[in-house]
């Protein structure tokens, strides 16, 4: 399966694009960090508020910044795809078989499912009804904690992609 995905990614020609334009990688790195800050600043702040930080700020109002986080995520999916498909050293396979990368992707999926649970099970509705200086319900706190752990985990394992051997070594693999 890794071979198939890698093959499809190479069809985009991004490897050639990255190899012949030295600005692509650094610029995407910069944008990837902008996207990261946008996600943590918006989604992370809503999570923090639901956990009791910043009382007096209405949760529903804070949520209105979340579209900026969604833009950040979109930016990071695009730049992330360029990193994987355009990887000049070892190609997409290098990423697709990298434990840190796969853990990062898993955590993004967990954060996504967590968000679906937040909206689909009516937790968002109850959380938004919280008084500006009130406490969010326990269900919202659980969602918030999972979200924060997942997103900071994404950053942690994201940085480990380039140091995958350290991770494997620590796990005795």
């Amino acid at each position: 399966m890794v071979e198939t995905i890698a093959h499809l990614m190479l069809k985009t020609g991004l490897d050639n694009f990255v190899a012949t334009n030295d600005w692509v990688w650094p610029v995407c790195e910069i944008l990837h960090f902008f996207g990261m800050a946008a996600i943590i600043g918006t989604v992370g702040l809503v999570d923090a508020r639901m956990l009791g930080i910043g009382k007096g700020i209405p949760i529903a109002s804070l949520e209105r910044f979340v579209p900026i986080g969604v833009l950040g995520l979109l930016l990071n999916v695009i730049t992330g795809f360029i990193f994987v498909a355009g990887n000049p050293v070892g190609g997409p396979q290098e990423y697709l078989t990298n434990l840190a990368f796969l853990t990062k992707m898993t955590l993004i999926v967990i954060a996504g499912v967590n968000l679906l649970v937040f909206y689909a099970f009516g937790i968002a509705r109850i959380a938004n009804a919280t008084a500006p200086d009130g406490s969010a319900p326990l269900s919202a706190k659980v969602v918030a904690a999972v979200s924060l752990i997942a997103w900071f985990g994404v950053i942690f394992f994201g940085r480990f992609i380039m140091y995958n051997d350290t991770l494997l070594n620590a796990l005795g693999l």
Binding site: D22, W23, W25, P26, E29, I30, F33, F34, M36, A37, A38, I39, I40, G41, T42, G44, L45, A48, I53, G54, K55, G56, I57, P58, S61, L62, R64, F65, I68, P132, F152, I155, F156, G158, R159, F160, Y163, T166, L167, N169, A170
Partner: protein, 169 residues
């Protein structure tokens, strides 16, 4: 002096230890701290610019300690990474650009506290000083440039080439 720092037990541990808690974890803490301080700063700035007006501005004041948490994480992780890589960083001018931008951003953050958040109008919720807009824009500009410079610290050859091409030397 530089050699002594770079060869100190701590710097060697950060740089060379195979432990999962050494170099890479410190690197990831640096990214987390960035996300916290820049993330919160940006939301505060957007509110000062008038977005989501139903958030009471004086309530954002309590986010300051959390920005300091982000800053402290990054001062600690940044100094650790600097010690581990001292001579390289000191010869990388983009590193100085990054530090300058962070210094400007932190001064701006403190000025915002004194000249916006600690004014009676904001405390009583009756208004916002006109200069709040300027602090907000400055905050976003300084942090954006700090991120750009911080990332470019890792690509000195690329920076030299493009600066040479653009400014012809």
């Amino acid at each position: 002096m530089i050699d002594a720092i770079e060869n100190s037990a701590y710097a060697v541990w950060v740089r060379e230890s195979p432990s999962i808690w050494a170099y890479t974890t410190i690197l990831s803490l640096h990214a987390m701290g960035l996300a916290i301080i820049v993330g919160i700063n940006t939301i505060v700035a957007l509110r000062l610019l008038g977005y989501v007006p139903d958030i009471p501005i004086n309530k954002l004041r309590q986010l300051y300690p959390w920005m300091y948490v982000g800053f402290t994480i990054n001062a600690f992780s940044g100094l650790s990474l600097l010690a581990a890589n001292l001579s390289n960083d000191l010869h990388n001018w983009m590193f100085y650009v990054k530090l300058t931008m962070i210094l400007c951003a932190m001064i701006n953050l403190e000025l915002t506290k004194v000249r916006v958040f600690d004014t009676p109008a904001v405390i009583n919720g009756t208004g916002v000083p006109a200069e709040a807009h300027r602090f907000a824009i400055a905050s976003m500009v300084f942090w954006s440039l700090a991120i750009c410079a911080g990332r470019l610290v890792e690509y000195p050859n690329f920076v030299e080439k493009w600066v040479g091409m653009l400014f012809g030397h």
